[in-house]
């Protein structure tokens, strides 16, 4: 795993919101093809960590490298980086004024200059992959939460990014819909996608993740393979977290 090239690197990254330090001197590397679950209590900084990668949040110090380079500050470079790093949101954020098909085709048509035909074909293939081919012409408001999130994943995949970030993708879903979304994510993992997932789904973490990163109070407390994390937890903090999650 450490042979693979580095997809994302954090070098001494710190961030505060006002007086509140949210990331404290974070240094960590993520490699190509890794499926990493980032977990921890609320306020640990895990969502912020993800969001700083694609500059949805700024950082106060340190560097973040994407595919070996630190993207510059020009809009062009940031936009180019975001095409390579997909982002799936907790609240799906589908565009309600567009159909499912148009949601997926928008970026490929405008940014990758795909023709209408090519974009539609790609979209249909993706919708089939996530099991929603019949919903191509539906509007987002007609879909359940689980379906919306799967469309959101398809929309991200349409840009063919090598890396996808998932920010609590199932936290806003009713329990019975969580499975269908996790199934799609597992499929992606099996296909070798580089994935960083902030999630509370420990079952997914155990079965699919290559690595689990546990954060608390803005710091990385533990970073281990699932087997070790769950059965031979090192830190007291992580142990406490796990026992709470199990009894939830």
């Amino acid at each position: 795993m450490s042979e693979k090239p580095k997809s994302i690197e954090f070098q001494g990254v710190s961030k505060r919101f006002g007086d509140n330090p949210v990331l404290k001197n974070i240094s960590i590397d993520f490699h190509q093809g890794e499926v990493v679950v980032i977990c921890g209590p609320s306020g640990s900084g895990k969502s912020t960590l993800l969001r700083t990668i694609t500059r949805l949040e700024s950082i106060d110090s340190g560097r973040i490298l994407v595919e070996g380079r630190e993207p510059g500050h020009s809009a062009r470079e940031v936009n180019a980086m975001r095409q390579r790093v997909g982002f799936v949101f907790q609240s799906f954020n589908l565009f309600p004024h567009l159909t499912v098909m148009d949601n997926i085709c928008l970026a490929p048509r405008r940014l990758l200059r795909l023709s209408d035909q090519e974009a539609r074909e790609r979209a249909m293939a993706l919708l089939t992959r996530v099991g929603l081919a019949s919903k191509a012409d539906a509007s987002p408001s007609q879909l359940s939460g689980g379906q919306q999130q799967r469309v959101a994943i398809a929309r991200t995949l349409a840009m063919q990014p090598p890396i996808i970030l998932f920010d609590e993708p199932t936290s806003a879903l009713d329990p019975e819909m969580v499975g269908e979304v996790l199934a799609v994510m597992r499929q992606l993992a099996d296909e070798g996608m580089t994935m960083l997932c902030v999630t509370h789904e420990m079952g997914f973490a155990r079965e699919v993740a290559d690595r689990i990163v546990f954060m608390a109070d803005g710091q990385i407390v533990e970073d281990a393979m699932p087997e070790q994390f769950f059965t031979a937890t090192r830190s007291a903090r992580a142990k406490a977290f796990l026992s709470e999650v199990r009894h939830a």
């Binding site: 609320s42 969502s47 694609t54 949805l56 809009a75 936009n79 180019a80 975001r82 095409q83 997909g86 982002f87 949101f89 907790q90 609240s91 799906f92 954020n93 589908l94 565009f95 309600p96 004024h97 928008l106 970026a107 405008r110 940014l111 509007s139 987002p140 408001s141 007609q142 879909l143 359940s144 939460g145 689980g146 379906q147 919306q148 959101a152 929309r155 991200t156 840009m159 609590e168 936290s171 806003a172 879903l173 009713d174 019975e176 819909m177």
Partner: protein, 238 residues
Amino acid sequence: MWDILETYWVQLLIGYYPDGPLGGLAMTLILAFAGLLLAMPAGLTVCLGLLSPWRPLARLVELFVFYMRSVPLIVHLLWVYFLLPLAIKGAPLWLVVLVVMTLFNGAYLSQTIRAGIEALPRGQYEAARSLGLSHGRAMRHVILPQALRNMLPSIVSQFVLLIKETALGSVIGLHELTLEFMGLNDTLGDKAIPIFTLLGIAYFVLCYPLTLLGRHVERRFAGPSRGTPASGAQAPTA
């Protein structure tokens, strides 16, 4: 009262055209339409200026909007009445009114449009940018279509205001509906009450259907275009 209408309806409708300037109801309507047609892009431009990532521009536009909103419309009219002919020789009265209405309503519309944009969940903009779309493209394809749709009722009511604003053109001598009626009052002498009652009715007939349209549009768009799923989602946590 209605006999006044019978006798003078031509003049009230189109002024002294073709023997003189176009006036009356025709002028009022044309001005209101033209005003709306120009105020919309003006409002959009001003709004985009307000939201521009380039601070100096945003500040400048803020000042403009603040000024337009702090000074009464009639004062704007008087000011442009004297100023415009300096820039454009022989500027006609209707142009003075059009320029003022465009700028004035543009400033107000920019606030309406901005409210519409800011009412959208932040996630919409974040999702658009996260796909790699530029700020401009995100606004054009994701934010503005939704904001304008939500703002349609406010925009319709702005149009009603525009129609009423044209009446102030009478102050600088523009031959719109109100001035025609005022002229009629001078001609007929002692018929002020029926004349101005008719004028009130005229504006009512113009504006009320539009107000109803606005309500209808509001009801239609208050519906499912909000993006909340039919089932299966709770409010986001963490």
